[in-house]
Subunit: 216 residues, 2 copies
């Protein structure tokens, strides 16, 4: 499949490299073509990897991952443009973390709204699926690095889009437990779990963790 | 030990009954003495159970549990009064859930502040420990009802207070895994995890669940 990665950070690189390794053609998009990090990634990731502007990537991809910093995501997806994204599935991996006052960050949107919902409202013809934002990049693409099965959450308004993303998560990345939290308002719950993740990261001294649901 | 329970809801009843069963003397406090629910609980819970006003209970208890509705907690603890609480440990079990617009609730405070911190600021001579707010009442007092060990979080500014509460949680209630998230600002993370808990409650159709931390 042709896949777009919006963003050149660790999450974008990690997802992009994994998707290339799985046999997909991946184009990494950034604000400008020939972004230094995107170009370096393309060199490293091999023949199925390419790079360009946000619009280049979005137009190329049949499936689009938003891996930009959450506070810049709306702007980045607007730069990609509604035309390039029209009717496509946008997997929103980002978190609206505001680091402007240092660490730990606060959320730039929460409680009565979420970044996932903001993206869906801004692009009503795009099928936004929130996923993967609750684990660190290396766990996203290799959940088996943790010594036990853990939960991944997913939400979005379009059942077909969630099915398509779930297939990439299970068959591609190896996730075995995916909980569908319903429509895109579930993004509030998923994004608001970040403060606990960050506090645990500070407490445990590692990002390599996740949770297993235990129910009676 | 003499223990105060502020609040007559399901959480207060469940904690109160368990603490009585463990051999403690428990006084349930509410806005008025002879509150109908508190009186009924006292009848049911037996000789070591008593009831009175918030102040009666707080003055009685060596250890105080805040089990009032989160949006009423500041008012309730103020009604108990700084004098009755002076120097004591206040276990804040509540969540700032605002149901005024229906279900699911939003949080009345979050992101840059928390109910735990508000209580600590309002009562600087009280040792506020946030605990138990991330699980349903029956799991609080019987974690072994879940088919596997799960995590409980705790935070607060006073190490001795956290040690005392941890002893009740482990030796009394049977919790085996307690993660200390540091000072009372950890209450933001603990309270902001509620939207995910609520969404899962809606999705799973049960409140009898919790999470086990899986780390590499």
């Amino acid at each position: 499949m042709k896949i777009a990665i919006l963003g050149t950070g660790l999450v974008g690189e990690t997802l992009g490299s994994k998707l290339v390794a799985l046999g997909h053609e991946v184009r990494m998009g950034s604000r400008t073509a020939n972004n230094e990090k995107a170009a370096a990634w393309t060199q490293k990731a091999g023949a199925r990897a390419s790079q360009g502007t946000f619009t280049d990537a979005a137009a190329f991809g049949e499936l689009v991952f938003n891996c930009t910093a959450g506070t810049a995501s709306l702007e980045a997806v607007k730069a990609a443009g509604a035309q390039a994204l029209d009717g496509k599935v946008l997997v929103d991996v980002s978190n609206p973390l505001d680091f402007s006052k240092g660490f730990p960050p606060t959320l730039s949107v929460c409680n009565t709204d979420s970044l996932g919902e903001q993206l869906q409202r801004a692009f009503p013809d795009v099928k936004v699926v929130k996923a993967l934002n609750t684990v660190t990049a290396s766990v996203m693409v290799e959940p088996s690095k943790l010594p036990g099965p853990t939960e991944l959450f997913i939400c979005g308004n379009d059942a077909g889009a969630k099915k398509q993303v779930t297939q990439v998560l299970t068959e591609g990345f190896g996730w075995k437990r995916i909980i569908d939290l319903g429509d895109i308002t579930g993004a509030r719950a998923m994004e608001m779990s970040l403060p606990l993740w960050i506090r645990l990261y500070q407490t445990l001294g590692t990002a390599d963790f996740n949770f297993q649901l235990i129910r009676a």
